[in-house]
Symmetry: C2
Subunit: 397 residues, 2 copies
């Protein structure tokens, strides 16, 4: 029972995906490209117009013979990409070709549970609608900060999302909005976004490493997101990097997340501010009453040796894990994103240096390790792209 509108068949789906990725195309060219006879094409386009998905868009430039008509996606169609974090939610609304038309963000507390949080998402969509930007919703893509069964559209044992385990998020949202919905892990939507509109365009085998409060990894194999058998592939934040390291929220000692990432960096920064080893951090603690991972980045820019040291140490730990993954996975590219990607080239230099030193030369000679191009937009852009695949895919699949 997937909500309409969605195309009936593969030919209609191919037409929509062509228009999404290339903009308006003439009937003549569409027929040639998709090898559809004129009558068949006319019938499929008629059906797409009925469904409110595509329409005629005026005369096309002449190709010499009879003038053809342009076909375009319905200009009123909208997708919503939603990136749900532990403490905030971002919604981006795009047109039918995934160009952004509006964006809103709000603080939330994911621990308030699925109903309260989904209500807040409704409010944000209502706000965009009131502003005239949400004409006709064709799909919602949602990323959540925890493991997801993509097939079932439910979070599965998400550690930082009490009350969400197996909650039917996809069904609930689809019921509320009457449109196709996909739900995925936040890192998976980011890797989709970066691959569609960022630095990883057309890369087939790819790792996207999100370094935020926690650390996770989106995996693309052969152009498709790889989610693992339980939907928790890419959970690299709990790889052990130091058996004698600090205890992690998961209960094990020395997880990557326990030694690096936003939470660990804030903890180490606070310690450095309190014991006065870092004048820069001590000053920030006096002024603001607290210090954050961003303060470490700012301190490093000012040349504070403790801040630089913290980023270097963290980069070395992250680099060690990524070097192992390069040996295992032999990717075409590694993209670093998430909030701490703002630590920038100091972090990147350290990560690169470890990867290039530790991994097999064959696996690194052509391996770019780069920062995300989309930054904080990666998640919402990917969520909208992911649901467009569903909304433009034939109902039968």
């Amino acid at each position: 029972m997937t909500p309409r509108p969605r195309p009936d068949n593969t030919a209609q789906s191919q037409i929509l995906l062509t228009l999404r990725d290339e903009g308006p195309v003439s009937r003549a060219e569409l027929g040639d490209r998709l090898e559809l006879p004129r009558a068949r094409l006319a019938a499929e386009l008629g059906r797409l117009a009925e469904l409110g998905l595509a329409r005629d868009g005026g005369p096309a430039a002449s190709r010499g013979g009879r003038r053809s008509t342009l076909v375009e996606l319905d200009p009123e169609l909208r997708f919503a990409g939603v990136d749900l974090g532990a403490t905030s939610v971002t919604v981006e609304v795009t047109d039918a070709s995934l160009e952004p038309v509006a964006s809103v963000e709000e603080p939330i507390d994911i621990r308030s549970g699925p109903e309260a949080v989904l209500d807040r998402i409704d409010d944000l969509l209502a706000k965009v609608r009131a502003d005239g930007h949400l004409t006709r919703l064709a799909g919602i893509g949602l990323g959540v900060p925890g493991p997801v069964s993509y097939r079932d559209g439910v979070p599965v044992s998400p550690p930082i999302m009490p009350g969400w385990d197996r909650y039917p998020v996809r069904e609930e949202l689809a019921g509320r909005h009457g449109c196709p919905v996909v739900v995925d892990n936040d890192v998976n939507i980011m890797v989709v976004g970066e691959r569609r509109g960022g630095v990883a365009r057309s890369i087939e085998d790819l790792l996207f490493v999100k370094v935020g409060t926690g650390i996770g990894c989106g995996i693309v194999v052969g152009g498709q997101v790889y989610r693992g058998v339980d939907g928790c592939a890419g959970d690299i934040g709990h790889i052990q990097v130091d058996p004698h390291g600090p205890v992690c929220a998961c209960g094990n000692a020395g997880c990557l997340e326990a030694v690096f990432g936003g939470a660990a960096l804030a903890r180490d920064a606070l310690a450095a501010a309190r014991n006065d080893t870092s004048p820069s951090l001590a000053e920030r603690l006096r002024t603001h009453g607290t210090v954050t991972a961003a303060d470490v980045g700012a301190g490093a820019v000012e040349g504070d040796p403790v801040c630089i040291g913290l980023i270097r140490d963290g980069g070395r730990r992250l680099g060690g894990v990524l070097a192992s993954l390069v040996s295992f996975f032999n990717p075409s590219m590694i993209v670093i994103g998430g909030g701490l990607a703002g630590l920038g080239h100091l972090l990147l230099a350290e990560v690169r240096s470890v990867i290039y030193r530790r991994s097999l030369p064959l696996a690194t000679r052509n391996l770019p390790v780069v920062l995300s191009e989309l930054g904080s937009r990666a998640g919402v852009a990917g969520a909208a792209a992911l649901v467009s695949e569903l909304a433009y895919g034939p109902v039968t699949r």
Copy 2:
């Protein structure tokens, strides 16, 4: 210019793969299953008979109507699976359905270079032919102990194979034998073998860990071998497990292979024999003049604490790496194979204990960690299976 015989089209290919996997099938059932009209089926079967790939095999059991004829693969067709190690080569010849009909093994030195080694493989095939078991060769699958560009059929910078870098192994073998050839990394052929005829039947997302002289990993994603962008995915032997560990042959310190695996275990066993901490190993050194990884296994069975300790320590190191890979890859199954899988349940218990303790519960609750069922046959069985996919695939692909 792929050598014949191979089918012309997808329908012929589907017929051959059906017969390979299910044995003789009646014409009537083939037509129903593949949705081929009677005349089309007859034409395709005629062509397969011309190519010497399939033939009529007598009357089928009646289904009530007109009696149908059985179709079978040509009983003279043979595939050769070749597993090339550093110091030995094993050849298994199978019939058209991948049932083994003959097996031969010989010591070689891979450092003698590709021409000398390929000559030895020719000799072995000639021997099987002289014994009457190699009637008509339809394909050769070859696994080599190093990275391979699967697309090009050449080894790429293989560390222990001097003289083989970019040597056109596939072309050379295809030229010598006039049949389709595939060349792949040894661990990749083992995972194919285990998935086709071993413990991992029908598993879609799978890791096969070979613990031999070195350590490597075969990766299956969605039922297909994942090789990485340079063909060196699964090179887990060079993941660092101890920054203060022994220097590895690759030049880095503390690689998994430098602390565990056949070579490392033999080194540690020799030390224990010499400094007399292990009576069992000291005795073997006196009797045989040397000690091997197998002696450690034998000592452990006899209850020698040093031998048990060496296996436990190694299992813990291997388990730590696999725990990281479970967090990253969230597989459906992990299979342990290769020579040191003979260390058996002591090794397996240690590996399992680390994986189950260190990885996310969601990723391990249904995760079997098991020993290879095919043992030393995994490689040759997989190599034959891999080339059968090519030989039964349409020429056009």
